[in-house]
């Protein structure tokens, strides 16, 4: 247990160091890595919406890093069939929540480490949402079993990501580049950073929602130690390189609406807990052959495209009316899923 926690803290330092490198190499401020923003940028690069476009190599990098560790560690299995469309919808919900807050839970840590106090209510919301999801899990929530699938099924998602990497290296002009997407590290640095955090993430099962959830359910602290290490490392890097700015006002890609920062990440935490992992974890699982997670990632992509095409994205002044309405719909959907799929069970009955 002590050894495991030490490894988790070391992993956090490694991930934090990668964040500092990505940030210094040109990624957007307080967004060295963000599953939600970068998937949003990738969706834009594919032409699915008209703003903030760049085929961020970090995203396929995470998938490929996770794939390599799973494959060469003998831990790769093609698996799926656990309520795929429910997972797709929950993926959309996660993305809408992240778009209202302006960042995934990973970016929440980076925003905190950069001194952005608007992320504090977001952090509280994420904890609250994860805790609410944990309550449903304890009460018997389940999306039922996934099953072993033909092996080729598991290779497809990593293969698609490899293709995207090859295209972004050989034919960058294929993809659109605009908005916040234009702030980025060199392709090779982004790719290497993604591969490292994907590999470490797979090996150590890094997941923000499990940090909060496992504390509530089992009083386990390992993942909290890990992301505290990420926070401390990035904080130290920001101070050392003059990128730390404490306050609420004029923070990069952020807004100051306390309630909606809270609610946005509450939805992310809740839906992620139901999915069994945060957005980063979904990418890692998909790289390891879990096609339910691949479907979830497609839910993120769809959520991002819908959010940008229908004006759901928060502005520096706060959330939009359309964003608030979408939040209500998504929160209701996630809650309905939670209630519908919670069955009071005794040991061993789940998924039978």
């Amino acid at each position: 247990m002590v050894k495991e926690n030490t490894l988790l803290i070391l992993s956090g330092v490694v991930v934090g160091a990668v964040m500092i490198a990505l940030s210094l190499s040109g990624n957007p401020p307080n967004a060295a890595f963000c599953s939600a923003c970068f998937i949003r940028d990738a969706a834009g690069a594919l032409g699915l919406h008209k703003s903030a476009a760049y085929m961020r190599p970090e995203i396929p990098g995470v998938v490929i890093g996770a794939f390599a560790v799973a494959k060469f560690g003998g831990d790769f299995t093609a698996r799926g069939g656990s309520a795929p469309f429910t997972r797709f919808i929950l993926g959309v919900c996660v993305m809408v929540g992240a778009i209202i807050f302006l960042g995934c839970p990973f970016r929440m840590i980076l925003r905190l480490a950069g001194g952005d106090l608007n992320a504090v209510p977001g952090f509280a919301g994420f904890i609250a949402g994860s805790a609410a999801g944990a309550l449903f899990l304890r009460a018997g929530f389940t999306l039922k079993r996934a099953y072993v699938l033909p092996e080729a099924e598991g290779y497809l998602f990593p293969a698609v990501n490899l293709l995207l990497v090859i295209l972004v290296i050989t034919s960058p002009a294929l993809f659109f580049l605009s908005g916040t997407g234009s702030a980025h590290a060199p392709v090779i640095v982004s790719l290497a950073g993604g591969i490292i955090i994907g590999g470490v993430g797979r090996r150590m099962r890094l997941c923000l929602v499990s940090g909060a959830r496992d504390f509530f359910l089992f009083r386990q602290y390992g993942m909290i130690f890990c992301f505290t290490a990420v926070f401390v490392t990035v904080f130290a890097g920001n101070v050392a390189f003059g990128n730390f700015r404490l306050g609420f006002a004029d923070q990069p890609t952020a807004h100051g609406d306390i309630l909606w920062n809270f609610l946005g990440l509450t939805l992310v935490g809740f839906a992620s807990a139901l999915l069994g992992g945060c957005p980063f974890r979904q990418l890692v699982l998909a790289g390891g052959g879990n096609t339910d997670s691949a479907i979830t990632v497609l839910g993120f992509v769809t959520g991002a495209a819908v959010s940008h095409n229908f004006g759901l994205v928060s502005t520096p002044d706060g959330p939009t009316v359309a964003g608030k309405l979408a939040f209500a719909v998504c929160a209701a959907a996630a809650l309905a899923v939670a209630v519908a799929d919670t069955k009071k069970t005794t040991t061993g009955e789940i998924g039978a």
Partner: protein, 92 residues
């Protein structure tokens, strides 16, 4: 002799005497995190020996870690379809 309970048969569970080496088998293959641990946690209340099947390394490691933190020993064995854990209460 190890008593092998039917998983969902509460009537059997209710007649068990605590402290017996009563055993239960749980098939948690294919379930998302953290459902295998929740099933294990529930089973650990009433049983001294638990045979747990999971289908991925993350769940196997997480369940073994949880068991060890709650006064059980955990032996993990690789099977054709995943992992089989034999979890036994250590401190009576």
């Amino acid at each position: 002799v190890i008593e092998n309970n039917v998983q969902s048969d509460r009537s059997v569970n209710e007649t068990e005497v605590r402290g017996d080496r009563n055993m239960i088998e749980i098939d948690a293959a294919g379930l998302s995190c953290p459902e295998p641990i929740i099933l294990l946690k529930n089973a650990a209340r009433d049983h001294d020996e638990i045979k747990l099947t999971v289908d991925n390394r993350a769940s196997a490691a997480a369940c073994a870690r949880f068991a060890e933190s709650r006064g059980f020993s955990a032996e993990t064995e690789r099977t054709a379809d995943g992992y089989a854990l034999i979890i036994k209460r250590v401190n009576q």
